[in-house]
């Protein structure tokens, strides 16, 4: 009917996420068509629980008692979990996770715990609860900031320097927010390192086409697994300072640095250790969320941002952006537990630290094993990852397959993933979603999964890939 066709034109230009076809399509294929596999194994997104990883017990025990306070007296739950739940219920209106909370930017107690975590992490660099804004998921949090920056049309349209490859949800978000994506290529041959010259090139070539105002970076890299060293972080900070760009640092996987000799350094810490010339000037927003490697609580939807050196009016806007509503309460409580885990004197510490160790060990072993395995396959080349939860191997696909894809109207990596799904029941992500374009075909897989699940996935991929090579010699 006519009224709805006058809808916002921006939407029509947006590329539908490939999941659109995949989601509805899988439902159809699941109904009745004979498949050579029992169940789809999906490692296309950063969703460890989906792959079979278990949640952190302490977190779930605290949340359960918060949701059903009769459990505060349940002896089978550890005492410290119950005590924590009791404390957290005390900061909820009416002692219920079902109330709106009083503030739109997050429960103050949780914001405070976040800052204490940040200070511990950053060797004492101070952090202020008023710089923290909590929201229901990192997408929402990032969008709040992006919306603020969006303005202009054509030449004056705000641009955001974006790494290629970038998180697969980012291009759509930038488009939705009315921002121009200004790509800067990461150096694949150097483990997806950030190159200063490339940042300059990207900026140079974009002037006149849009108005660049921010640079986005994820560290550890999503999907690359690259972990920046101090020098690299400093280069990016200096670049942002010189060019007057806001630094948007996605640090969701900060808890998953495993490569040898790699140190987890936050942008905030490095910024402050560069001295006042930078620490008082550079506008930095860093993002963290429940979707981290150790928590994997993507479905709970909780995230926060820490904003440094932003204009007070901007900060006020961000803090009020969710008013008069407030972010959901339960994810905030989960964030509190994430940043304030059991310490060695606590009864739950032993189990907690064992579970974290298990996750990290699984992750690093998987990443290494999978990387070796993939590199052994002809036509696949995988950079070693040092952190994060993905691998992002490159595919050298037979020309006939690329042709076939063209005829079908899809990217070749999308075709590869579709075929893999149909024939082996393994769902990986197509590299084009992360911004990689023809002829740089890639696939993306989350390696944070139980080891035997990963082995099964690799076996099926192996089988599929060899058949492909036979078909197109």
């Amino acid at each position: 009917m006519s009224s709805l066709q006058e809808g916002d034109l921006i939407l029509r230009g947006t590329r539908a996420p490939s999941r659109l076809q995949a989601a509805r399509g899988t439902e159809e294929s699941a109904q009745g068509a004979e498949k050579p596999f029992q169940q789809v194994m999906d490692v296309s997104t950063g969703d460890p629980h989906r792959a079979g990883m278990k949640p952190v017990s302490f977190v779930r025990q605290v949340l359960a008692a918060c949701v059903y306070p009769k459990l505060l007296d349940e002896k089978s739950l550890p005492l410290d979990a119950r005590q924590r739940a009791n404390t957290l219920l005390g900061v909820c209106s009416g002692r219920s996770v079902g109330s709106y909370s009083a503030t739109a930017y997050g429960i103050p107690y949780v914001c405070k715990s976040v800052t204490e975590f940040i200070m511990r992490r950053d060797g004492g660099v101070s952090s202020n609860p008023e710089d923290i804004v909590i929201s229901s998921g990192s997408t929402k949090t990032l969008l709040m900031v992006l919306h603020l920056m969006a303005s202009g049309e054509g030449e004056t349209r705000t641009g955001v320097l974006t790494p290629m490859p970038c998180p697969h949800t980012l291009p759509t978000l930038l488009n939705m927010a009315g921002l121009t994506l200004v790509p800067y290529q990461l150096l694949e041959d150097q483990g997806w390192a950030v190159e200063l010259d490339e940042l300059h090139r990207a900026l140079r070539t974009t002037r006149g086409h849009c108005s660049p105002r921010a640079i986005y970076i994820s560290n550890p890299g999503n999907p690359t697994g690259h972990v920046q060293d101090r020098k690299s972080i400093e280069e990016v900070i200096r670049f942002a300072a010189t060019e007057g760009l806001v630094l948007l640092a996605d640090e969701v996987y900060q808890d998953s640095v495993y490569g040898q000799g790699k140190e987890s350094l936050s942008y905030k810490r490095v910024l402050f250790e560069m001295g006042k010339e930078y620490s008082k000037k550079v506008e930095l927003v860093s993002f963290h969320s429940l979707s981290s490697a150790c928590m994997g609580e993507c479905g709970l939807r909780g995230a926060y941002m820490e904003a440094v050196n932003l204009d007070p009016a901007v900060m006020k806007y961000l803090r009020d952006a969710q008013a008069p509503s407030s972010p959901p309460v339960l994810p905030q409580l989960a964030l509190e537990v994430m940043v304030n885990p059991p310490t060695p004197e606590d009864p739950s510490y032993k189990t907690y630290s064992q579970e974290i160790l298990h996750s990290m060990t699984t992750l690093s072993q998987n990443a290494q094993r999978a990387c070796e395995f993939l590199n052994d396959l002809s036509g696949i080349k995988c950079q070693p990852a040092r952190g994060g939860i993905f691998l992002f191997p490159r595919l050298h696909l037979p020309p006939q397959m690329v042709e076939e894809a063209k005829m079908l109207g899809v990217e070749a990596d999308v075709l590869y993933c579709q075929r893999l799904l149909e024939e082996e029941g393994v769902r990986l992500g197509a590299g084009c979603e992360n911004g990689q374009v023809d002829p740089n075909f890639h696939i993306r897989l989350c390696v944070l999964a139980p080891s035997d699940t990963l082995d099964e996935i690799l076996a099926r991929l192996h089988s599929f890939h060899l058949r492909l090579l036979e078909r197109f010699p």
Partner: protein, 464 residues
């Protein structure tokens, strides 16, 4: 752009609450806060079954232990089986876990006397405001000239009006008739539409039923008139039905717009575009903090549906626990289930509480000179009218405040009662109202009415 002009009120309330926490002397021990529809904060208890299932879903060890009733454990186990990896921590499909979406569609069909409901047309969202916002984004073309218009009721839920303006649209008010129990008169819809000529391009009609803030429940006749009007004028219909569980009037019955539309038969039932919204925040569950809602879309163009999918998919999915809360709302315990007696008792208690509260509100406020209150047939709020003495209005002007805000500030300061000034619900020349939530324990309501009566009597005297 400020979302609420009465933030000065909210800020002062927070200050006073803090002062009370620090034991500063006041004529009252705590603030009675009925500003928002926030039942748990107001003292209403959550439903046990809901919280038990959520707890077991969060911590599946509880499924194996005997701590919880057997039907709770079964439900949790079944729900976990529908979550990827058996965990509420996994992402789900954009529109929601398919099995839950399916059951919601079955709930809708049952509620609507058999009118079919397609799961493909249902999206679960983090709160109904999120889905309303997305639908509005598709309807309101921010770059259009003339600007897109949305007919909204007076009085209206403030956030909707704000969202429309924020998206670049224009709100076109249609006035509900207070003296006729807030009736929606179709002549008024015509007048409103005519008033928009040359000012904007109206594309949508937004209705709230049961009402917020006004406590009406629309009759089938009214709803049919609205539907016919929408069809005739080629407007899509947005039906905000989040308070559908809150029907207090003995003679009132909630009918969904979907049902009425469906029962009007073709061609209307096949052509009128309708989006209806529901939520876990209101009604018996009152789980505002969980942020769970859904929208059902009917007769929308397939291209538009695609746009909507893209919009929803930018934020992966609604929190899994919220989806589960919606499932529990639409599929509560049934007679014969172990949890049924307690569930039934708790919901009945809340229902009785609301009926009692609205009766008391009606009695007390109508007995006070300077107040008049329509019967609250449904919804979560009372919206009584203030007949302020000219001196009070003058004083408010001097303080550069709307008179109802002035009244609310005084009420907060002197009596420790926090209510929303009617101006937030849209302006209407020469009228002043207050809005307060009636989903609160009976003794809290009684205490509030007592403080309000004393304050009001004194106020009227001071400004006579």
């Amino acid at each position: 752009m400020k979302k609420l002009d009465s933030t000065v009120l909210a800020r002062r309330a927070n200050q006073i609450k803090e002062e009370l926490r620090q034991k500063l002397r006041k004529p009252y021990k705590q603030v009675i806060d009925l500003y928002w529809g926030n039942p748990h904060a107001a003292g209403v208890k959550p439903l046990s079954f809901v919280r038990q299932v959520l707890a077991a879903c969060l911590y599946p060890d509880l499924v194996k232990s005997n701590t919880l009733p057997v039907d709770v454990r079964q439900r949790a186990q079944s729900l976990l089986g529908e979550c990827a990896g058996g965990s509420v921590g996994s992402y789900t499909d954009t529109a929601g876990i398919p099995e839950i979406v399916h059951r919601i569609s079955e709930f809708i069909t049952k509620r609507d006397g058999g009118a079919p409901s397609d799961p493909e047309n249902i999206y679960i969202s983090p709160g109904s405001q999120w889905s309303l916002r997305n639908i509005l984004k598709v309807l309101v073309n921010s770059q259009a000239s003339p600007r897109t218009g949305v007919l909204t009721p007076w009085p209206c839920y403030p956030i909707t009006n704000f969202t429309i303006k924020e998206l670049g649209g224009v709100t076109v008010p249609y006035y509900l008739s207070e003296e006729q129990g807030w009736e929606l008169q179709v002549e008024e819809l015509h007048r409103a539409l005519d008033s928009a000529k040359g000012l904007c391009n109206p594309v949508t009609l937004y209705v709230i039923n049961p009402g917020n803030p006004a406590g009406y429940v629309q009759s089938r006749k009214t709803m049919q008139e609205v539907i016919r009007f929408a069809s005739e004028k080629r407007l899509s219909l947005l039906a905000d039905e989040v308070y559908q569980e809150c029907v207090h009037g003995e003679k009132s019955e909630f009918l969904s717009y979907k049902r009425v539309l469906s029962e009007m038969g073709p061609p209307l039932s096949d052509t009128v575009e309708l989006a209806s919204f529901h939520s876990a925040s209101k009604g018996f569950m009152g789980e505002c903090g969980l942020r769970g809602g859904y929208v059902e879309l009917v007769n929308l163009d397939p291209d538009v549906m695609k746009c909507i999918y893209k919009l929803f998919s930018t934020d992966s999915c609604a929190p899994v626990l919220s989806q589960i809360a919606l499932d529990l709302m639409t599929n509560p315990p049934q007679p014969g289930d172990p949890s049924y007696p307690l569930y039934s008792e708790e919901t009945q208690h809340i229902k009785t509480m609301m009926v009692h509260n609205v009766k008391r509100v009606f009695e007390v406020l109508n007995s006070l000179p300077g107040f008049s209150c329509q019967p609250v047939e449904g919804g979560g709020f009372a919206f009584p009218r203030l007949h302020l003495p000219p001196k009070a209005i003058q004083k408010a002007k001097e303080m550069e405040m709307e008179p109802d805000l002035f009244y609310c500030m005084r009420l907060l300061e002197e009596a420790g009662v926090l209510v929303q000034p009617g101006m937030e619900n849209g302006p209407k020349e020469g009228t002043h109202h207050i809005r307060f939530c009636i989903i609160t324990p009976e003794d809290t309501m009684e205490e509030m009415l007592s403080r309000l009566s004393s304050f009001h009597t004194q106020f009227m005297k001071d400004f006579s």
